[in-house]
Symmetry: C2
Subunit: 408 residues, 2 copies
């Protein structure tokens, strides 16, 4: 008998029919003898409806009151799901974030969880009651309602699992696990049975939308095993857990990619201390996030400096640089917003050489030019022209034996 925290997202509870299906799923898990805490999001569409209402009253709406408004979304779901369970003869009890209570700081709209009081939940579990908790919300020490921001329900689930020392935190979503890469791009993409926290963090930060980074960080910090499962399809999903030393690592766990970025290159930058800060300081001040940064020393005492920003910020970043050209003595500025980034992720990289050369060869074989390279301990990223994105991902997926049918 285990203690399991299950989390169902907005699509999984998007209608009364789907809430009924979730109730059946919960009862099936419970009948296996497990104790259950269920975290739910707002019904899909509900948050948008509320945001639409708020739009009439200021943009952005008053932060404290916006949280009071948004928190109703999950409150509706917890009550309906608890009713559905009760109607099926399964004892259940709903909790808002305030009722639990999930204590957060007072930063409205993106609060952080400070502490969870598990007293009432434990008492309910002892009585055999399924505990249904509103995700995404908490309460600050003054009794104000707070919300956790994007991906908040995942974070609620993981935090509850950590506080309750649950055996597993199951995240039900509309995909049936974490894949080696996006199956829409590579039909041969394979569901991973297991992936470690670090790999998942890299996958998430590189655009794999299965889980929010924040909840993976949380799970990693508190060592909570997460299992990603489909609400609509039976299956074992993908277990995200601490690195397992017993089994031999796959070289590469997955391939992440995105085409959200754009590239800015400064040619002939005087090679002197403080120049990088001088360039990026103004970019940061404009609230533009920088992803990859590469600097190469040229032959003539100047340097070439390239960085990438989100495509939405491309124009703004370019304007900032043009205004600085003279101050900094830069020869030329080049921009490109038709790039794509592909990243290989895998803890196996740590102990295996030759990953990079295999990667570069696979791309070269397809005639794909690499514009930028950046590496970390468990990741290699390259920037290429966006038109080669699908081709490159497929080539790498095959080159690293990630396809469903093993090609060895």
């Amino acid at each position: 008998m285990a203690l399991i925290v299950q989390k169902y997202g907005g699509t999984s509870v998007g209608s009364t029919e789907r809430i009924a299906a979730v109730a059946d799923k919960i009862i099936a898990t419970r009948s296996q003898g497990h104790d259950l805490v269920v975290v739910v999001s707002a019904m899909s569409g509900e948050t948008n409806r509320l945001v639409e209402l708020a739009k009439s009253f200021g943009d952005p709406p008053h932060a404290r009151e916006f949280d009071v408004l948004l928190a109703t979304g999950e409150q509706v779901t917890i009550s309906l799901l608890s009713m559905a369970l009760q109607a099926r003869g399964c004892p259940a009890r709903s909790y808002t974030g305030a009722q639990v209570q999930i204590l957060t700081d007072s930063v409205h709209n993106k609060a952080r969880i400070l502490e969870i009081n598990d007293k009432n939940i434990h008492a309910d579990l002892k009585r055999g009651t399924v505990v249904v908790v509103a995700g995404f919300q908490g309460i600050d020490c003054d009794g104000n309602i707070t919300t956790l921001g994007r991906g908040g329900s995942d974070t609620s689930a993981v935090a509850l699992a950590a506080a309750l020392e649950a055996d597993e935190c199951q995240i039900y979503t509309d995909v049936d696990g974490v894949y080696t890469t996006d199956p829409r791009v590579v039909p041969e993409a394979r569901r991973l049975d297991q992936i470690c926290f670090e790999e998942m963090l890299e996958m998430a930060s590189l655009g794999s939308k299965v889980l929010q980074i924040r909840s993976v960080e949380f799970a990693s910090k508190f060592n909570v095993p997460i299992r990603v499962l489909s609400s609509f399809k039976e299956g074992k999903g993908t277990l995200i857990a601490p690195e397992d030393n017993k089994m031999e690592k796959a070289l590469i766990s997955g391939i992440a990619f995105n085409r959200d970025e754009s590239k800015l290159t400064l040619l002939g930058v005087p090679d002197q201390p403080g120049i990088a800060y001088n360039i990026l300081g103004d970019i940061a001040d404009a609230n533009i996030e920088v992803d990859m940064i590469i600097q190469n020393i040229g032959a003539d005492g100047t340097t070439d400096f390239t960085f990438t920003v989100h495509r939405n910020d491309y124009k703004k970043a370019l304007d900032i640089l043009h205004n600085k050209t003279k101050d900094l003595g830069i020869r030329e500025i080049k921009g490109d917003n038709h790039i794509a980034k592909i990243s290989l992720v895998g803890v196996g990289m740590r102990s295996h050489a030759g990953i990079a050369s295999t990667m570069f060869k696979a791309l070269a074989d397809e005639g794909i030019n690499i514009q930028m390279i950046s590496t970390s301990e468990i990741k290699i990223s390259v920037v290429i022209h966006e038109k080669y994105l699908e081709l490159g991902v497929r080539a790498l997926h095959t080159a690293f034996n990630l396809d469903k049918e093993t090609k060895d």
Copy 2:
């Protein structure tokens, strides 16, 4: 400078435009130097939407969870109204029932208020903040969300006014006050400037829908002056206050009526102790509420017994009586569900004779036969055939000089 509690019902806050209009109204009151606590209902239509969602999961839905669901309706309104006020530069702060806190008993769906903690509200008022409170809801001593049942937001407003010792509790609704009778029946009906609690209680219990009886009882108990006003029309409304001894009473304040009732008559009932209990005990056991009861001793040692029930319960009550005919030795049972009740209400009745005879004459002059009569200290009710309802009300309205143009 006064402390005013204002309450806006579902229609008054039924859209973002209307919420904006309410915000303007609040700011206008505040600019006169008053401190303001505002109680709001769910946006019109919202409660029905939530009830519809709950229908999938049991009828009736689980009581505790139904309250969790319904309470979101008012929570949406408090946040939107507070945003609207903030957007207009008026400091405002929303409170759910739990946040206030409005402590109730644990009878879900029809909880009763036990105590209101006014500490935070007073602190906000001192800072010049408009306090926006969710009506209809509270919290029990275990932290469960409760709702107050029908008319609950009026009750919340009056209870808050009592706890805060407010100078006035203003109930904004879709009518501009309490009328001498329903203006749809008598176009000459006149808005009353003032009416006392007892009269209002009689008017409310007789079908005048302006205020729920419960909130009037509450106001009467704690001596809270209520003013009924229109959200959509300027005006002074009607003040409902303790009886004012300084001014001479009007004979009659208003005429209430309804056609929701039906009449059951038992003829030739053996005149012996316990017979009334014997008849009405079974009716009560079937959860049928009895309104008027009249018993007359006949000539032959038997008695005639008549009572009225809601028209929805007519068939059920008739069946119960038919099953008892033999046991009780009743000669005959008659039923009539085409009746109407008209009541004159006025504290002036206490000190003036001749009201009843004026009433009976006015009805007789129109050829209207009176089937039942029942009186209390400040009320006379008659039952007539429903087809004479409008005619009777109009005749009485004129006979007691209630028409707009005084006819003296």
